[in-house]
């Protein structure tokens, strides 16, 4: 089957509508900002609108014109700070109202699926993230 790439505002707009209905949506995220846990173009994720958002959750948010799928790094009341697991620096700020859904499952090409963790160990390794990601990119082969 050919790969079709749809502009985010079309596809994720539909995804958001499905999630608002209380249903789940499965998408293939793109990019490498959530490495090593989610490989863009390879892994699929299940999204669902959860009653609340906690630090460690991986969320899909809309900030202005952009959609971002990153982990919640910090929360203060309704204010969230996000950071991609694959990013070395750079965070995004948004509010609870910007959250469209939470990743409840990661599905590998093999079909194996599991619940994402809170990313605590990965967060602890942030000082050496640059080196770990460098090794990961060189050594790991996509399925």
């Amino acid at each position: 089957m050919d790969k079709i790439s749809l502009p985010n505002e079309i596809l994720l707009g539909e995804v958001a509508a499905v999630l608002r209905d209380g249903r789940e949506a499965v998408i293939i995220p793109t990019g490498c900002s959530m490495l090593p846990f989610i490989r863009g173009g390879v892994d699929r994720v299940v999204l669902h609108r959860e009653p609340d958002v906690a630090v460690g959750d991986i969320v899909l948010v809309r900030i202005g014109e952009h959609y971002i799928l990153h982990r919640v790094f910090a929360r203060e009341g309704e204010a969230l700070t996000l950071m991609g697991d694959g990013n070395l620096a750079g965070t995004e700020r948004c509010t609870l109202a910007d959250v469209i859904g939470t990743v409840t499952e990661i599905i590998r090409p093999s079909g194996r699926h599991y619940k994402p963790g809170r990313g605590r160990l990965w967060r602890f390794l942030k000082p050496v993230r640059r080196y770990l990601l460098g090794v990961y990119r060189r050594v790991v082969v996509s399925e």
Binding site: L6, P7, I10, V15, R23, E24, A25, V26, I27
Partner: protein, 89 residues
């Protein structure tokens, strides 16, 4: 032949797409994209048995196209539907 259950046609942008769908979950990661003509045929045959001849007839009835071209187009479309895994029989 028949279209598999659990695939719903939806408009998306200027075209249409078909995605695997259950009451709980919609799978946007595996979609078949259809133009307006293919979407029309999909709607006509969804939920029932049909043949290549049925599709050819629908095309010649609706569009200004000769039977040979219509049949060839319908055949091509069926191949892509089969490859996408939405067709049975």
């Amino acid at each position: 032949m028949k279209l598999l259950d659990g695939f719903i046609l939806r408009p998306l942008g200027n075209d249409y797409i078909v995605m695997g769908e259950t009451p709980e979950r919609i799978d946007f990661s595996r979609v078949v994209s259809l133009n307006a003509t293919a979407a029309y045929l999909w709607e006509q045959v969804q939920g029932r048995e049909f043949t290549l001849e049925d599709l050819t007839e629908m095309l010649t009835a609706r569009y200004d196209v000769d039977a040979q071209t219509a049949r060839a187009d319908a055949e091509k479309m069926l191949v892509s539907w089969r490859e996408a895994g939405v067709l049975e029989g």
